[in-house]
Amino acid sequence: MCLAGLVVAIRADDPAIRTLMLRAFTPFSATSSGDPDARLDLRFEPAAIWIDGSPEPRADVAGDVIRVEHRDFVGVIGAEGTQLVAVVPRDVLSIENALRVLYALLLIRHDGLLLHAAGVVREPGATVLFGRSGSGKTTAARLARGRPVLGDDLVALRRGPSGWCAHATPFGGLAARRRRARSAPLRELFRLRQGPAFEARPLAAARGVAELLQSAVLPAALPADRVLALERCGALLAEVGVQELVFPLDNGLWRWLDERDR
């Protein structure tokens, strides 16, 4: 699998899980002869071992490994974040959650960030709208009719030789998994907020970094990861900028953004 240029080699001992994987993540599948950036070893467990009902995974450092508990999988990640052994049921969503954790860790270590955001290609680049649950990400993506959507909940950002790019992710259910694995140069970053009228305004630097950081996916509460995330958010602020976008829930969002650029 390849996401944001990062290749994860996936191995599954269960034929049914292999079939699920191949069907579910086809747009993001990749063949690579080189060394992968990480490995995911999926082990089938039919028993109902999942007891944690929280939407976000819990991660604890135990010696040289990170132990991850999610509502539908448990896993162990090497401290360097490049190998995840996950015990999963035969369920695509569980596999997706394991992949999401691994890619969040990978991205933070490879000049990137997995962000709770909607991403829409608006030539000449991608507009990324981030915010916490209920801020309007899904609505904003839904309103982008006819424009390529990179994500309506999670978008991968990664800095390359020519600057930051936004990348589609397969995370967020069936529609996300069917999305094309496309990328676009990151054009602008908006913190979304619903309000009575359209308005875009710059955020103070520290607040911009803080808002970005709050929307970053950091599955393991490792101090080193938090430092890296702070660096990434600081770089995004300096190199792309962060604005606040107030928008009412109506169809005019993307038209308003287009007109604002003219």
Binding site: V209, A210, L213, V227, L230, E231
Partner: protein, 92 residues
């Protein structure tokens, strides 16, 4: 040791992730992962916490730098140090 104990020399919790952005600290609380920002005054206090100065010494330096009444700055610094301690950001 409490934040108000005379002679105590607080240090920043080394597990707290933070950086100064345009003159203000952005930090992640080690215990909860929540993100906080400090204003310019809070940022200066945080910068001066080094394990070698007492809170009173930090307050004295800040009173000079901000040209503010020493007794008021001293009281504010004690309260702020206690708040940071409660959040696990200072080690005594």
């Amino acid at each position: 040791m409490s934040a108000t104990a005379e002679g105590a020399r607080p240090r920043r919790d080394p597990s707290a992730a933070w950086r100064v952005v345009d003159g203000e600290v952005v930090m992640v609380l080690p215990s909860t992962g929540k993100v906080h920002t400090l204003n310019a005054v809070g940022t200066r206090f945080w910068e001066l916490v080094d394990g070698e100065r007492t809170v009173a010494e930090i307050a004295g330096q800040m009173a000079d730098e901000f040209d503010a009444p020493a007794d008021r700055i001293a009281a504010d610094c004690q309260v702020f140090a206690a708040e940071l301690s409660e959040r696990g950001l200072l080690v005594w």
